[in-house]
């Protein structure tokens, strides 16, 4: 039997059989748009609003039985400086100098890397003060002096309690404080958008008069990874965070591939942009070929954003089709299997007999290109 003919017979039989199976299925979930995967992409450090929106979408996805895939960039690791500082001070109090130096050096490295994340101004100063004290105990006077100057640069008004620290320690720190006080001062400015949280030496400010020397700045903008750095001030200075672009969400082609890999007919793509002034959540249905069809866009700053999000999810995730229950008492004549067997036989015969009898080798299911052109 020619291959096109076999194909035709199979198509016809499969169509009829499929219809029968569909009819008899008792409780079938079938979303009209075929969405069975939700892909989320949001900022690495989301705002409260963005987190709430993500939780809402994820809950709906799980309730609806949809696969959930979060492709958001990983959140940056939290600074360990506070823990290391605490460990360093404990070791110092217990006279474990090497342990104290290791912990405080780790804390200092974190301070320089993160711009002092998680530490107040006095705690920032503590990192270098205690390391300076440890270096003093270990006989490294030069290193000790540098750290005491750093500690005093961060908090120029700081003094040591003579009841707690040894007299020579207090004296050494006073000398460092005097040296810092003699340094010229300069204006340190951090250029960042108004929506960003800016800290200089652990204090919330975008501009400060500081002593010449080492300082730390930290900038946290909505929708972007926080940035921090050490700044060596030697005059009026303006620093700006590097313009690292927010990680882009995956493109539609990638999403289509994700859908195909998972056997999904379509993907609901949820993208949260957490930037001021319009934090936005965009929902789009992308089919397995990477083509976007329907979409919704909601301003998360709106008062009714939650209701709008729910409505958008209702619209884009069409509810499961109502259960179809077959009750024998209600069965119609056309629901009899015998009727279907007979109909199937008739259809099969209708296909095969004419084609077998009159097969001319034609390409059923294909076309012929024949330009109306002579040359």
């Amino acid at each position: 039997m020619p291959r096109p003919l076999v194909t035709c017979v199979l198509v016809a039989c499969a169509t009829a059989a499929g219809a029968r199976v569909a009819h008899g299925q008792e409780a079938r979930d079938a979303r009209d748009d075929g969405v069975d995967l939700v892909v989320f992409h949001g900022p690495a450090a989301p705002s409260t609003r963005a987190s709430a929106a993500r939780a809402r979408v994820e809950a709906r996805a799980r309730d609806t039985g949809l696969a959930w895939l979060d492709l958001s960039p990983a959140a940056p690791p939290t600074s360990e400086a506070p823990v290391k500082l605490r460990a360093g001070i404990d070791a110092y109090d217990e006279l474990r100098w090497e342990d104290a130096r290791a912990a405080l050096t780790a804390a200092a490295d974190e301070v320089w890397r993160t711009g002092g994340e998680g530490l107040s101004t006095s705690e920032l100063s503590d990192v270098f003060l205690y390391r300076g004290l440890v270096e003093t105990q270990l006989g490294n006077a030069a290193h000790a002096w540098d750290d005491l100057v750093r500690a005093s640069t961060l908090v120029p008004t700081r003094t040591l309690d003579p009841m707690r620290f040894a007299p020579r320690t207090v004296e050494a720190f006073d000398r460092a404080r005097a040296a810092v006080a003699a340094l010229p001062r300069a204006r340190l400015t951090v250029a960042a958008d108004a929506a960003c949280a800016v800290a200089i030496d652990g204090g919330a400010a975008a501009q400060a008069e500081v002593a010449h020397g080492e300082h730390v700045v930290r900038v946290a903008c909505p929708g972007r990874a926080a940035w921090g750095a050490r700044v060596v001030v030697a005059g009026d200075q303006t620093v700006a965070p590097p313009d690292a672009p927010a990680p882009a969400p995956p493109d539609d082609e990638t999403l289509g591939a994700e859908a195909r890999v998972r056997g999904a007919a379509a993907v609901l793509v949820v993208t949260v942009t957490d930037a001021a002034p319009d934090p936005t959540i965009v929902l789009r249905v992308v089919d397995a070929r990477g083509r976007a069809s329907r979409r919704a866009s909601i301003d998360l700053a709106d008062a009714d954003a939650t209701a709008a999000l729910d409505a958008a999810l209702d619209r884009l995730l069409a509810p499961a089709a109502p259960a179809v229950i077959v009750r024998p008492d209600d069965a119609q004549w056309w629901q009899s299997r015998w009727v279907w067997l007979a109909a199937g036989a008739v259809v099969t015969a209708a296909i095969t007999i004419p084609l077998l009898a009159g097969d001319d080798g034609g390409d059923g299911g294909t076309f012929t290109v024949r330009p109306e052109w002579t040359w």
Binding site: T7, A12, A19, R224, A248, G364, T366, F367, P371
Partner: protein, 478 residues
Amino acid sequence: MVTRAGAALALVAVAGCGDPAAEVAPVIDLPAAGSEADPMLTIDAVELSVARAGDEAPLLSASFARGEPLVLAGVPAEDDLVIHLVGRAGDVDVAYGRTCRFALSLDEPAPAPHLWFTRIVRWADAAPPVVPDRRGGAAWTTADDTLAVALGEAADGPVSTVEVFDPSGATWRGTAEVLPRRGGTLAPLGDGRAVIVGGRDPGGAAMRAVEIVDPLAAVDGVDTIDDPRLGLDGTAAVAVGDGEVVVIGGRDDAGPVAAAWRIRVGDDGQVEPPRQLVSTLATPRAGHTLTRLSDDLGAPVVVIGGVDAAGEPVATAELYRPLGQAFSPGFAPPMVVARSRHVAARMPDGSVLVAGGVDATGAPVTTLERFTIDGGFVVAGELPAGAGLVDAALTELPDGRVLLSGGRTDEGAAPVELAYVIRLDPLDGSVDVIETDDLDAARAEHVAAVLCDGTVLAVGGDGASTADRYQPPPAGRR
């Protein structure tokens, strides 16, 4: 109900299978006989092939000598198919044509796609537009792959007619009517509609109406939003994806502005009122260009050139990042030659080629420069003498090259008919500038845009009342 539908589908399947004689009859359109673009005198064989759009390899292909009937059997019923026709003289490809993409379905009548078959790298006359003397204006691709043209001025004032060129049949038709405005900027929304902002009305008053035009709508093809803040001359707008357009800079009655707005399509398909961004340009400017650095969602947009409040060309570029809805602070790479009235196009590697324009002295600029986000601006080459430096069109071709057509050698000079294909050398970042066929008519302030079949349509402009259609080489156009 389900069973009856199933039975109907089975019958449809039977009916489809029982018609093995379905035929596609593409219509071969040819340029005027005897013209330089006419392929018929030179070719001695043709290759007819069917491929999936974008695929290099054909699904089916066959060659035919002169006089043989062209038949290609066994074409599968699929979406996104194209037909290629290559004309050969000896073993050399000298002519080419491709259809726009079409679908074959057993349930639908077979289409009759048109194929514009001409000598390659040749311009040929195309059908004259509805408005023959349109100067300026802008073009965009509509939802059904036709090309719409709007804005511009004619002899009797600003043009309000939006007209559409249909490559199938090579015909023009007038569709929507927009408000007549001098200047004005247009940006496609990506769904076939376009946003028009700025310019001045025929009386010289700032045009505060923002129009959203759908050239294919049977009725009510234009929506209007009134926003006095957008009554700007020399503003620029660009689509940033996902149904959003950003409008940056321009000049109000007080001079160039630094403000930017975004206009986006709402959930219901309606365009929302413009929203002004918090972030602004570092340098207020007008007459600049905006170029998106890729087609990805969130791709940055580079702002190049234009003039500042003193009327001097702005020497630095700026970068707008759509995801943050902000301009990058401190991003100000200096141009090699500060200029305005230039043209810019994105190259295949994501860099931006800047050509032409005038410098601070008003002299035309021959230096080509290329912008990359990491390296700023560098000299990429020089345009040859005689090339259009102002009022020229720079068109991105499907294979990554760009076509510089027409223009003037200097402000006030006569239009030229010269055209050049510019290709990026990816090894050293320089560009090759190769002169190609002259336009059939010298033109400046025209529109040149790529059609869905890969050809370039040049229409309007000072000096020409017809349209020209360019056949780029077939490589890279599958």
